[in-house]
Symmetry: C2
Subunit: 317 residues, 2 copies
Amino acid sequence: MLNVTLLGSGGGMPMPERHLSSLMINYKGRKILVDCGEGTQVAIRKMNAGFKSIDIICITHVHGDHIFGIPGLLSTMGNSQRLDPVTIVGPKGISDVMRGLLLSIKQLPYSIEIIEDPKGKLGITNTEQGLKIKEQKDGMNDEITVSTLELDHSAPCFGYSFYLNRRPKFEPEKAIKNDVPRLIWSKLQKGETIVAGDRKYSPDLVLGEQRRGIKLTYITDTRPTKDIPQWINQSDLFICEGTYGDNDDMDKAIKNKHMTFMEAGELAKKGKVKELLLTHFSPALKEPNFYEHNAKKEFAHTTIGYDGYRKNIEYKN
Amino acid sequence: MLNVTLLGSGGGMPMPERHLSSLMINYKGRKILVDCGEGTQVAIRKMNAGFKSIDIICITHVHGDHIFGIPGLLSTMGNSQRLDPVTIVGPKGISDVMRGLLLSIKQLPYSIEIIEDPKGKLGITNTEQGLKIKEQKDGMNDEITVSTLELDHSAPCFGYSFYLNRRPKFEPEKAIKNDVPRLIWSKLQKGETIVAGDRKYSPDLVLGEQRRGIKLTYITDTRPTKDIPQWINQSDLFICEGTYGDNDDMDKAIKNKHMTFMEAGELAKKGKVKELLLTHFSPALKEPNFYEHNAKKEFAHTTIGYDGYRKNIEYKN
């Protein structure tokens, strides 16, 4: 299961009534944070979403409304006696920006690792030191597969897809039928391949059909691109920017490389997602609900995001 | 007159219910901001204290809770079409930290000037491009004199004193008695010295007694020092940190180089200030009012600061 909290639903500037767009993903009590604009640590505190267990921070792009909260959050995590390393993932330019931001932090009791502009997929495993994210090799033992998509914005910008893998079911009858010694059942179940004597035992000897995992996608800031529908395909939850609610603001959306509610709805429809959650509302968009119809006309299962939106995403049987 | 707004009264970390300690000084519609922790731009918006006209930012020290809001604020000021330069004043280290923080801002439509570790006084004048602050020469035409005091904290840290000068009264009888041509009365009144023919006309020929201006002092983060009382002497408003309300937290105050309410009260008493306003409360200090008595025992005219505290400081006749 993945538990998600939309910490903020605003774009551009932190407002008294709306935090900047940011998502907290909770997996087995450990956290992945997506974007960290100014005030995100206040939103985390407000929603009791927990600092200490943030192991990974994924940054979509280095515009201020997505990163100016990083130094404050890292300092607060340091003050809450965190010792485990934190990994920050981001597009081209993230290392320079982080070096600048970290200049103003005297010291942290934990280390920061940066993955800049990863080309392939990334794999997340749950370790004693929390969630670890690395460029993926075979992905066999990764609990979450993260992929990025280059978007169309005024700075290098990533969409993020988080796929929580689901192991096939363990089938004891199959294990018995394939003469697999009981001793190694659980190892195979965990995805290991064991060689014993002249035989090689692989996980498929004890496991049933592949099972569908959970797909969560997060896209801000961008114009619609032709790659997005395929990339978000069948998402259980597709979180997407809708900076402008009104279709009449299309010219602003084009000029500022953002999207309207309608365009986000079109992407959701083409991508056959389960649910569309809109976020990253322009400061001028005081009542995003007024324009819900512009998205729903394209895609009925649309939710207008709000600070504190929470959802448990379960495996679908 | 000086109008002041305490934008935030917290220390250490921005809290949902309390912004970080920061002061907005409004002089003739232009603004001086003291300190800018994360969330200060939200407080400014909440209190309608106005972005565009912030000409000067005085930083006490480069700990995160006093500077992490700078990039966000500067960006928002840029987005609100400000073109006039902004001057940032701060102790040793401010330039490096600013260079790091500004790395993450693509560009601003105005320039940033930095005055690092000024040794002497600074003078502020009101120009068409807003308030200008420079290292003071003779100070004749400065409307506000700013002085800094080195404090005792875990980083180079400034206290700030803002003295709004008050010109002596213009006395026409005196001007007539001293045969000063009417043509130059107003120039002398503005502090200019005019040479005409073989005579030198100086302002004192038309002006009465020196008049007392307005003294505003701002001290966070520090232990009490022997220099503070003299330096804050006769302040109309002395804004001082009181990180810990309870006298039992003295050991924390000493360890973290902060002060208790009682210590701030002692300073106010020694300095014979008019009013003490306490700020920079520890995140653990949920109800600072509970400990008001610890300050008032030393200095009766104490106010416990709160986000949005406002005061007009008028000239005293």
